[in-house]
């Protein structure tokens, strides 16, 4: 006698790229629906499909280094708490993990970086927000002020993310998309997009001011804040050249700020 197991799915669309996730676990499906609220669509279109195979809880280290490699037409993604494979040609893959939202979140981030790298885009360690129809990015390492500046945003500002920005080339301009990838603010970005006006490199200081940055420093800072995991020469080349293209088209400035709401008087 065989038992038919119901196959459940949902579409998680980030940066205009829908990824369909299949599971047989209703509780896990609910967990994903809550985790990605605002980014779950009912579209039939999916650019990639993942089967999630849930495993029993085991000792795992989510802080272990991520390993991303490509062999024989297949990407392999591995960390202490998950194992995943993805075949770009057939747009399908699988993820093995326990029933938690963090592992699949890491897989989605990695997959988006791989797809974006081939399209001239990237994920960037930065907060981003829309004001007056234009997007502004605020990049910096941990403690640079990404969450602080997001928290200080006035009501007319739409927050795209306080942690990881999604950037895609679109014609002659670059567009920032909202992401569900959160930092300390733990608040999902809005699922909207806008052309990028300026990338600000954050620095905390005793006054609010904006200073120009030489192109070389701008490019180095951008490269140091990019999220990229794969040891793949072609993609490293692609993302390297994307950073130069971005700096040639988008103004990059240093934003020194005092942590209070007046900093937003300089933005937009």
């Amino acid at each position: 006698m065989t038992t038919e197991v119901e196959r459940l799915s949902l579409n998680i669309e980030i940066g205009g790229m829908p990824i369909r996730v299949y599971t047989t676990d209703f509780g896990f499906l609910n967990l994903l629906q809550n985790r990605y609220a605002g980014f779950v669509t009912d579209s039939d279109r999916a650019e990639i499909e993942f089967d999630v195979e849930l495993q029993q809880a085991r000792v795992a280290d989510p802080d272990a280094d991520v390993e991303v490699s490509y062999h024989f037409g297949r990407w392999s993604l591995r960390r202490g708490d998950f194992l995943a494979e993805w075949e770009p040609d057939v747009r399908r893959g699988w993820i093995r993990q326990t029933a938690n939202p963090y592992s699949i979140d890491a897989v989605l981030r990695i997959v988006h970086t791989l797809v974006l790298a081939q399209q001239g885009g990237f994920l960037l360690h930065s907060a981003s927000a829309i004001r007056n129809g234009k997007a502004f990015l605020f990049a910096g390492v941990s403690e640079a002020g990404k969450t602080t500046i997001s928290r200080l945003a006035p009501p007319d500002v739409t927050l795209l993310t306080d942690e990881i920005s999604y950037i895609r080339g679109c014609g002659d301009e670059y567009v920032a998309f909202g992401t569900p990838f959160t930092g300390e603010l733990a608040k999902l970005g809005e699922n909207v997009s806008a052309p990028i006006s300026t990338l600000y490199l954050l620095a905390k200081g005793k006054e609010n001011r904006i200073d120009p940055i030489a192109p070389g420093e701008a490019t180095r800072s951008l490269l140091s804040n990019l999220l990229f995991f794969a040891k793949d020469e072609e993609l490293v080349q692609a993302i390297f050249h994307s950073a130069f293209e971005f700096v040639s088209r988008v103004p990059v400035m240093r934003l020194t700020f005092v942590p209070d709401a007046r900093v937003w008087e300089l933005i937009g």
């Binding site: 192109p215 040891k231 390297f240």
Partner: protein, 105 residues
């Protein structure tokens, strides 16, 4: 002392911006910003010209630097870039053929 030859790895990402040469290792994503002398070495790394000759004709001729010191610095840099697979180095001239053979090993 044996001669040292250098050849740029075409799989390293390199770009010049406002006179600054930046190179990223395709293997480990390490980013290098080269100064003027290092940029000369990179641009002269054709696989055929010995490092000693590059240093003598292109670095010592342009910068006030002691030849022995300049060669030692150049060799150290070449070996560091080779460690990141940005340059190929060899004690024999480097052709496309032997570069490919080396990569296959």
């Amino acid at each position: 002392m044996s001669k040292l030859y250098m050849a740029r790895n075409p799989r390293a990402a390199a770009r010049s911006l406002d006179g600054e040469m930046m190179i990223m290792s395709g293997r480990d994503s390490t980013l290098f910003t080269l100064n003027k002398t290092a940029t000369i070495l990179w641009q002269s790394a054709d696989g055929a010209t010995p490092l000693e000759e590059i240093v003598e004709k292109k670095i010592c001729a342009e910068f006030e630097v002691e030849p022995i010191r300049a060669l030692a610095d150049a060799e150290a840099l070449a070996r560091e870039l080779a460690d990141h697979e940005i340059l190929h180095i060899s004690e024999a001239p480097i052709t496309q053929q032997n570069r490919t053979a080396g990569e296959k090993r």
